[in-house]
Amino acid sequence: MARYALLKLLYAVPTLFAVLLLVFVLTRVIPGDPAQLILGDQATPEAIAALRTQLGLDKSIPLQFLDFLVGVLHGDFGSSIVTGQSVVSLAAAVLPSTLELTVASLVVGVVFGVPLGAWSAMRRNRLPDIAVRIGSLIGLSLPAFVFGILLLVVFAVQLGWFPVIAPSGDVSVFEDLRALVLPAVTLGILMAAYITRVTRSSMLQVLGEDFIRTARAKGVPWWRVVRRHALRNAIIPVVTVVGLYLGVLIGNSVLTEMVFNRPGLGKLIVGALAQRDYPVLQGLMVLYTLLIILANLITDLAYGVFNPRVRFA
């Protein structure tokens, strides 16, 4: 398994390189000049040219790429051309809250999605099933920010249980978790909606399998058939979907991060793109790609754990 993981990571290197190259070229091909954006609309062309030189943007793109690669090999990802902060420190500042939110919403999604999906499948076409299905579709159709704002209005402003904006500074773990609840639920609802659908569909298929009948024929009580036989098989495709969605979650939680004013990788990437902050964009895309690859790897390994038919070779 370790060998498998290592091999997978090795395969990731060309992916990483391709992503980098794409990001590098594309960001420089699209219109928009970071120097202009930094200096504002009253800056003279002279000042802008000077800043471009200072930032090394007057060099050819291949040369810039080379510079960047050399830097990366030395562990230097450069500094933001907008704020001057080092890319590594920026990434380090936002990564914990991104991971925290991702894991928390994953937990919310699984804790609600799997049981609801299984329940829905077992009560197929009856009231609980219909309710769960419509509920999950509402979860999918309504934008996260509508939920987010709704949760804020009810639980933060009116009931006062949670803060509107995440507390900053050295707050207790408790305060930190408290601020995590609403954003995790907001993102988790979407996740749960997906998981519910997939679990239900997978569960329906598994419940029709012969081995379920075998288990029942040997007198295994129904709840135990569901738990030990059906769910353990039905969970396998869920693992794939969860893994898949994990990456989407990390990158596309921007709106949730905005509503709850949390720092995050997605927000930072979008911000860097808007500002044409090339070094930050490059560095974060490396990090983001690594996270995706890691998420894939974990999914693969988890898949193997849940599915004995898969062998790691």
């Binding site: 395969y11 794409l22 699209i30 499948a121 495709p237 894939n296």
Partner: protein, 298 residues
Amino acid sequence: MSAAPETLAIRPPAVWLRFARALWRTATANAAMMTGIALFLAVVIVAIGAPVFAEVDPLDQDLLARLVPPSPGHWLGTDAFGRDIWARIAYGARISLVIGLVAVGIAMVIGSALGILSGYMGGWVDQAISQATNILLAFPSLILGLMVVAFLGPSVPNLIAAISLATIPQFIRVSRAPTIALRERDFIQACRALGFSPLRIMVRHILPNIWPEILVMGSLWLATAIRVEASLAFIGLGVKPPTPTWGGMIREGFEQILNSVYLALFPSLAILVVVLALNMIGDGLRDALDPRLKESKR
């Protein structure tokens, strides 16, 4: 072996005929599917006949009647420019439906084709497709959208291309895994032994077995596709204003959410109706196409 009576198995000569009959039988027997079809047709009719259903011009601004709540004059209220929300939803259905259905449709076809190919062929084909998938997955949809703008320029077809591109990996992944599992199953082994061409095996034997999953995934991503249009609007790939789209309306609604919740709510509900309808149809389709699928034991 099926728990349902085996005598039910009827084998008409052609696939399309089986499809049509099964569809018709399911549709007439399945109230939910009928409702779904009716709902979806209703949305399509509203979209096509928007000028009939909404007498007001969706572009007509009334600067002094902005953010009006639902009322007799504007029965879904007005937006931040005093435009009638109902008219904009009706007209917006045209582009949003096209974008959602076409983008997901394309992604579904290309994605599952690649996924099945990858899962069935294995080896270097699988490696190549998986690597490409990883690269695509590594781009948040926003950045992916930007790539498309940079190369193709903004337009509705390019918008659809961008959304498809962002969605394809999902379908690759969802179809690849079960294909790998199926590849080892006896009936596929048997097909191979009989010398069936890989193409025939993939299309006629693997696809019918995994496409319930693909359908479910498709209905899931439709809502996302319609909404992604809104987020791409931020980077210039959106539909040009003042043309109404549901995604664009939701984006506008975000700005005004505390002033008037209807701006974001109604287009979201419109998306919900379409997704609901398609899910009802999708579930019905699945029942029709998948004779193996049995009722739960209780």
